[in-house]
């Protein structure tokens, strides 16, 4: 699992996955490491899900961890461009109530500047 970061002028960051990736137990350790680093380094984060083909409960837990971290810091997290199968995981667990999502990365970036 490789990721790319693009820093924004407002101090935020957009993180995307290089190539299609399934976020399950096999990639969970790497995902948690990456999200921990991001949570320590930034307050405003957009995660680009364009290349995420699959997401299970272990990955969901990792993103909840990042959200908690950013909430503590008064930061913001936006999840962008979720595929239907990935969106389903957030909907069934009702975590779509606590995560802010956007249809596109551009929309997510724009919403990061809102108070």
């Amino acid at each position: 699992m490789r990721t790319a970061r693009r820093e924004l002028s407002n101090g935020g960051v957009v993180v995307s996955f290089d190539g299609e990736v399934a976020l399950d137990a096999a990639t969970n350790e790497a995902l948690r490491e990456e999200l921990t680093q991001l949570g320590n380094g930034y307050e405003r984060i957009v995660v680009d899900f364009t290349n995420v083909t699959f997401l299970d409960s272990s990955a969901l837990g990792a993103f909840v961890g990042l959200l908690r971290r950013l909430n503590q810091k008064g930061g913001a997290l936006r999840l962008a461009a979720l595929r239907p199968g990935v969106r389903m995981v957030f909907e069934v667990t009702r975590l779509d109530r606590v995560f802010a999502t956007a249809a596109t990365v551009a929309e997510a970036e724009a919403s990061l500047n809102e108070p």
Partner: protein, 173 residues
């Protein structure tokens, strides 16, 4: 097996079994012409194998024309179930023998996972409270929510058989 006879009688008399009827595995196989024969595969690796099982399921479900939302649900339930087997039945130890079975009927998808590890029988599934921002505890809830029937039974001589049934969109309408 009485269930098999019941299905056969219903089909012969032109009656369609109600979608919520409990159908045994052998009843589903051969009960309708469109039913794909149950396919079994054996695995004994760790988490890195879950993607392979998903690939197999995804291909078969797609070939059978299962609706994509139903495929997503089955692949997630399968992944959660396999992960639970590795974590709880085998406690992370390898090899982790697992027989996986997939059967695609016109009205439902049947999945079975048979492990040989520590017995696992969840007593109840609680719905996580989203505002609590729990970092775990979603797996069993997802399986219960996504699938229409879920049962855990002790396997012989050891382990657990998990059976799951997902009604297809066509059967829910």
């Amino acid at each position: 097996m009485p269930q098999a006879i019941m299905s056969a009688i219903l089909l012969q008399s032109g009656l369609t079994p109600k979608s919520h009827d409990r159908r045994g595995r052998s009843a589903a196989a051969g009960a309708a012409e469109e039913t794909m024969a149950a396919e079994q595969r054996h695995f004994d690796g760790g988490v890195e194998q879950i993607g392979r099982v998903r690939g197999w399921f995804g291909e078969r479900l797609g070939q059978a024309g299962v609706e994509s939302a139903d495929i997503d649900a089955v692949l997630l339930a399968l992944t959660e179930a396999y992960t639970n087997v590795l974590r709880h039945a085998y406690e992370g130890k390898l090899p982790a023998p697992l027989d996986v079975e997939l059967e695609i009927a016109p009205d439902a998808v049947f999945v079975a996972l048979r492990d040989q590890g520590k017995a696992f029988q969840p007593t109840g599934v609680t719905e996580p409270e989203p505002e609590e921002l729990a970092e775990g505890g979603y797996g069993l809830f997802l399986i219960a929510s996504l699938m229409d029937e879920v049962s855990y039974a002790p396997a012989d001589p050891a382990g657990t058989v998990l059976r799951m049934k997902k009604l297809r969109a066509t059967a829910r309408r």
